[in-house]
Symmetry: C2
């Protein structure tokens, strides 16, 4: 296996995506060159263009893939139960899903400004879909008397910001297990929307 040229399409594509994800998350999209990605993968820079039209498409594809996964996984949670049960499920899901893929999360929050306008709008719309799902839970809870919320739009953004913040400090080898982290945050979220 010492050959340095030939056909590897089945593994090179995913390896490019993994390398780009890692490097973009660590150094930022603008700070990473196609040559760096190629070096990480073990090919020459020109070979990358067999898998992506250009650097921008590579970024967009990573972000799009992440948002699609997020929405699909969230949809699989279902809508059963009381607003309180649904909010707890959302809280625990958000924390664990985001903790599982810190690099994709980081890119999807930090590199919005690196997207061309068309691509930006697509990602923004997906992000809004996710926020709307939480807002629906909060509104249902308000209507049924489960929650007391002054402004459901703000509460939605406040809860998501609080939960996403876990990614800035959580490490699986840290003081608390993910289950404990979920419990602490669920307590705080629950109290913040009830009297």
């Amino acid at each position: 296996m010492a050959r340095t040229t030939g056909s590897h399409s089945e593994i090179t594509g995913p390896r490019i995506r993994e390398a780009a994800l890692r490097l973009f998350a660590r150094h930022g999209y603008a700070a990473v060159s196609m040559r760096q990605i190629a070096t990480e993968v073990g090919v020459q820079a020109g070979a990358l263009y067999n898998y992506t039209a250009d650097k921008q498409s590579l970024l967009f594809s990573l972000m799009r893939g992440h948002m699609d996964e997020l929405l699909a996984a969230h949809a699989a949670l279902g809508q059963d139960g009381s607003p309180t049960a649904r909010l707890e499920r959302f809280t625990r899901f958000h924390i664990s899903f985001h903790a599982d893929r810190p690099q994709a999360v980081f890119i999807s929050y930090m590199e919005l400004r690196s997207l061309e306008p068309n691509n930006f709008q697509i990602i923004e719309a997906l992000r809004r879909d996710y926020e709307d799902a939480l807002e629906s839970i909060l509104r249902d809870g308000m209507a049924g008397g489960d929650f007391t919320i002054a402004d459901p739009k703000i509460a939605t953004l406040a809860v998501i910001a609080m939960l996403t913040g876990v990614n800035t400090w959580y490490r699986s080898a840290g003081r608390l297990s993910l289950e404990e982290v979920e419990q602490v945050y669920w307590d705080m979220v629950h109290r913040s929307v009830t009297e």
Copy 2:
């Protein structure tokens, strides 16, 4: 005043900082060139180096200045009153201080990874000082029975993440005044740390 060369040291320095702040916030540190900053200011690129040793120093100076201002303004709040009063003061201060300088806030959160290791450690230490101030309030409130908090370290990070999130959507021309936003968040923060 049609001259295009000469001495302008008293105004050029601040103008460079303002242009860099604006451009770094909008496009990111790595995506902005010294030539772009110079064009924005109305000088040639070489002239920038009369005011900054290099691009990295310019970024660090902006972030350092922001953190120093933040800590000085927070110190001026004082430590009077009950933990609840102090937490309310912190909440309102954090929101209004950050709403007043969205570009510096954005840079200080997004460009940490663009700092060289030495500079990163300095900014990180200042950020930790600020977090510690909030954690002290929470711990005092726990000790006195004002607050019920499972994990004060996590609660500190959760509250700061929630409050800083305001900057991602707040616009002074928006639906709510800053005072109303502060009130909504104070309600949520207060409830999240009390039973």
